[in-house]
């Protein structure tokens, strides 16, 4: 034994009091912190050392109380009961001590070894309050440690307190809440329970007695699980409850809540000095405007627009500036991977480039994500998010959503350019089960960044003259599709799910710090990189296999070999007529082509004359013969270069055709073909189907796959080669495809997140299925309907827009399930009886 011992320490406290900040302060971890109640929803573990003691620290979700009615309260309470931590650090917001004591007293009642951590002491000071820490310590009989966790103050004192308490034997709490007239009943019940050897060892007796009187069903379960004669104890509790109600005319649970509040008020009155003049705080002053019925929505709109401008418009520009970096990564891998073949490449190269391209396609959005994460960190830290929930609650309610659905929808891309993954993740904070599921179901319908490349291709190819309008259409129509869908889901599949009333704390504003924001943004980018890039790379491999195998049949391979041989033969005949005869053999043809390509790659983006000559010199030294051909040196060089160009053209053609054939014959291609009978109503042929199938992995694949199908080797842009490759395509086809993309089922990483957040595979499958069906339905409606009515793409666009807006308005007028119940149960007489 080295004498090292491990102690379990829990962090408990009310929401938003800074538990996670204290957790990070003690362990050096990076738990998610935000000025928004209910951020931590699962318990998180970390560890640190005090001298020779190892401390396992658990960050519990914030709870205002310790009843068993809400999930987070159960999680916290079960942990305290079952895992019996050696120390419980009760983090309390010092500036709101009275309310925070409500939890402290309950923790003490459980006879947990509590340290009261008065956090946010900087706020206490700023508001001119004073807390008599010594008096508080004496009254409660537990250690009290003031901290300013955000500023890193108080760490040492907390560590000392933990070490001291961890070494002590737990004793009964010094402070007991006086329950007045209920006390005799508590004594009777506690006496009966204490006689049972099992329960009295496992649980604090007085606490169990109070809980039973409070009619807490989890406490009843505990007694049932441990008591030798549980029924008798429960019957006794029930008779005590009845008797108390008769005696006082008050339900015991209410009396208990009152007694606790009264105790808190008494302690706070003796220890907290509020400033004499009760002046309105700056927070309240700001809220007069921020939460105002006219200015509030206006300010919200301005903030959302600024968010869009900075993250999307400016971010896009930044992404463009950063592209050369990712381009260089692609070039680098093209250089180091095994050399290319004539028509087909070695597997390692083909697969390697495929994976690299899929990954860089997402890395490309990194600047946008960084800006988005920073801006959201500012919103989170400042405390504006709860205000947003406040303002939008009313509108969203009409569609079965919740004020707190705002953030997930913004992250998902309400306008253009979000990502469904953080969006779905953010639904966690929504307490209303039904609204939460509805939000999870519609977030993937927002316009995530990855859908944008396809929009851009299609708009560029088929709506070039009205590009701005078309972009506005697709950016806003999604909301008018998502809101009715949320409403329909609420009225149907989600009808039976419980909905919770909107009661939420509104925390005061905090001034965000630049360091804090940057740190947060980098942390999230890092997480994003780790999770998403690995998933994307893995999925890319799967798609690669599905789209390339079983591969070309032998006769086709012979056909392409023939093309290759003929081209090389032609070139060699030309070589024979030049001075290069003998110096260039058949085996040199492909290397010359690759030499030219790598010279092109080396010079990409190089504008400096000197640098360019240096590169030339390097290549010349490398192979003067190849260089002469590629750079058209001398009469013969020029001649051969011309001949080489022909070979290059043949090679490109062979590669393009072979690839198209390979794709068509592939597993994914057969699927695309098999789907044609259904998708023809939406105007999609098998090539489009392949692109859409590959988009399931990650949506940017749709554009990438279209690009490879129509020939990425060409110098034309994707939209031009698509237009050339699909002569029968009209703007109506393009519109149907865009709408399908908008409603496209969540991509694989998002689906995984949906499954995680909805906690069911069923919901994940549902979300995939309904979006696919809805997408097909809408695309078919627009395409087939538009064709029957003889509408142009533009006319169909606005006809559909009108339809969506009208549906949204109608949906807003249909009452929600509980409104119906309320309307049905309204009695002519206002309630007078049971409103105690």
């Amino acid at each position: 034994m080295t004498g090292e011992k491990t102690v379990l320490v829990a962090l408990a406290g009310q929401p938003n009091c800074g538990k996670s900040t204290v957790f990070n302060l003690l362990t050096g971890a990076r738990q998610h912190v935000a000025n928004y109640p209910g951020v931590t929803v699962e318990k998180k573990t970390g560890s640190f050392a005090i001298d020779d003691i190892r401390v396992e620290l658990v960050d519990l979700p914030g709870t205002y109380s310790l009843t068993s009615y809400s999930l987070e309260e159960r999680v916290a309470r079960d942990f305290l009961i079952n895992d019996m931590p050696s120390v419980v650090i009760d983090v309390a917001d010092g500036s709101n001590l009275k309310r925070n004591l409500y939890l402290t007293l309950q923790l003490m009642e459980m006879e947990a070894p509590v340290i009261l951590n008065l956090n946010m002491m900087d706020v206490v000071e700023r508001r001119g309050q004073r807390i008599d820490v010594d008096r508080l310590r004496d009254m409660l009989g537990i250690p009290v440690v003031p901290t300013k966790a955000k500023k890193g103050e108080g760490k040492a004192a907390l560590r000392v307190a933990v070490k001291e308490l961890a070494g002590k034997r737990p004793g009964p709490a010094a402070y007991k809440i006086d329950y007045g007239p209920l006390e005799p009943h508590i004594d009777v019940l506690a006496g009966a329970i204490a006689e049972d050897p099992l329960v009295s060892v496992q649980y604090p007796v007085r606490w169990i007695a109070v809980k039973l009187l409070e009619n807490d069903d989890r406490a009843a379960d505990m007694v049932k699980g441990a008591h030798t004669d549980a029924d008798q104890a429960l019957a006794l509790a029930e008779s005590c409850r009845l008797r108390f109600t008769e005696e006082t005319g008050n339900a015991p649970e209410r009396h208990i809540a009152f007694a606790r509040h009264a105790a808190c008020a008494r302690i706070a009155a003796e220890t907290v000095t509020l400033p004499a003049a009760k002046k309105r705080s700056l927070s309240d002053l700001a809220d007069r405007y921020v939460c105002h019925r006219f200015f509030g929505p206006l300010i919200l709109l301005v903030i959302l627009m600024a968010l869009y401008q900075v993250a999307i418009v400016f971010g896009n520009w930044l992404a463009l500036q950063a592209w050369p970096i990712w381009g260089a990564v692609e070039d680098f891998s093209a250089d180091v991977l095994p050399a290319a073949g004539f028509t087909s490449d070695p597997l390692l190269r083909a697969l390697g480039l495929w994976v690299v391209k899929s990954t860089t396609a997402i890395l490309n959005y990194l600047p946008i994500f960084f800006l988005l994460f920073s801006l959201i960190a500012i919103l989170e830290d400042s405390g504006y998010m709860p205000r947003m929930a406040f303002i939008l609650d009313r509108l969203f309610r009409r569609f079965g959503l919740h004020g707190q659905s705002t953030l997930p929808m913004i992250l998902g891309g309400v306008y253009v350019g979000g990502c469904a993954i953080p969006g779905v993740m953010a639904t966690k904070a929504i307490p209303d089960e039904r609204a939460r599921l509805a939000t999870i179901m519609i977030v993937p319908m927002m316009n995530c960044l990855a859908k944008v490349p396809l929009y851009l291709i299609l708009i560029g190819a088929y709506f070039a003259d009205v590009g701005g309008l078309a972009m506005f259409f697709i950016a806003t129509v999604t909301l008018f599709m998502a809101l009715p869908v949320a409403k329909v889901l609420t009225l149907t599949v989600l009808k039976r799910h419980p909905s919770a009333p909107f009661i939420m704390e509104m925390p005061p504003y905090h001034l965000p710090t630049i360091m804090g924001i940057l740190r947060r943004a980098f942390e999230r980018i890092w997480l994003f990189l780790k999770k998403i890039v690995t998933v994307v790379a893995a999925v890319a491999v799967v798609v690669f296999v599905l789209i390339n195998y079983p591969g070309l049949p032998d006769d086709r391979r012979v056909h392409y070999d023939g093309m290759e041989n003929a081209a090389i033969k032609g070139f060699m005949a030309d070589v024979a007529r030049t001075e290069f005869v003998g110096r260039i053999t058949r085996a040199d043809v492909l290397p010359i082509i690759l030499f030219e390509e790598s010279l092109k790659r080396a010079k990409r983006g190089v504008t400096d004359q000197e640098e360019s000559s240096a590169i030339n010199a390097r290549f010349q030294a490398d192979n003067p013969v190849y260089y002469a051909v590629v750079k058209r040196e001398g009469k013969d060089g020029k001649k051969l270069n011309k001949s080489l160009k022909k070979v290059v053209r043949t090679r490109k053609k062979a590669r393009r055709e072979a690839r198209a054939e390979r794709f068509e014959a592939s597993f994914l291609g057969s699927m695309g073909r098999a789907l044609e009978p259904v998708t023809q109503w939406a105007g999609f042929n098998w090539r489009i189907n392949i692109a859409l199938l590959s988009a399931f992995a990650a949506k940017e694949n749709s554009a990438a796959t279209l690009g490879s199908i129509y020939g990425l080797d060409g110098d034309q842009s994707v939209q031009e080669s698509m237009k050339a490759g699909e002569s029968g395509f009209t703007p109506l086809h393009a519109l149907a495809l865009m709408l399908f993309m908008a409603l496209y089922p969540p991509c694989v990483p998002t689906s995984i997140m949906v499954r995680h957040q909805a906690d069911s595979t069923g919901w994940m499958l549902f979300s995939i299925a309904y979006q696919t069906l809805l997408g097909l339905l809408v695309a078919s409606l627009v395409f087939t309907g538009g064709r029957l009515l003889g509408l142009t793409g533009l006319q169909a666009m606005w006809a559909f827009y009108g339809l969506c807006v009208a549906t949204t308005l109608i949906m807003a007028l249909i009452p929600n399930p509980e409104e119906r119940e309320a309307a049905a149960s309204v009695s002519p007489e206002p309630c007078n009886e049971h409103c105690s």
Binding site: N96, D287, C291, P501, F502, E505, N832, C835, S836
Partner: protein, 74 residues
């Protein structure tokens, strides 16, 4: 005499004394733990058409109108 005045009818800028909370079980425990219990004084900070914003002691709480209607005040 019981009063029939509810929190919902208190205008912004006014204050009220909570007499009873006649909401459902979940809502009531939630309000209780946030400090909205009979016997406390609340300041109404906002009361237009969305949720209400009330101030209890040092805390600020948003309360849906449907629930505010069930909080009896004097």
């Amino acid at each position: 005499m019981r009063s029939n005045k509810t929190l919902k009818s208190v205008a912004a800028g006014e204050n009220a004394f909570v007499v009873a909370v006649a909401a459902g079980f979940r809502a009531r425990t939630r309000l209780e733990s946030l400090g909205i219990i009979p016997g406390v004084e609340v300041d109404v900070l906002a009361n237009s058409r969305g949720p209400m914003l009330v101030s209890v002691g040092e805390g600020r709480v948003m309360v849906e109108r449907g629930i505010a209607e069930k909080v009896l005040v004097a």
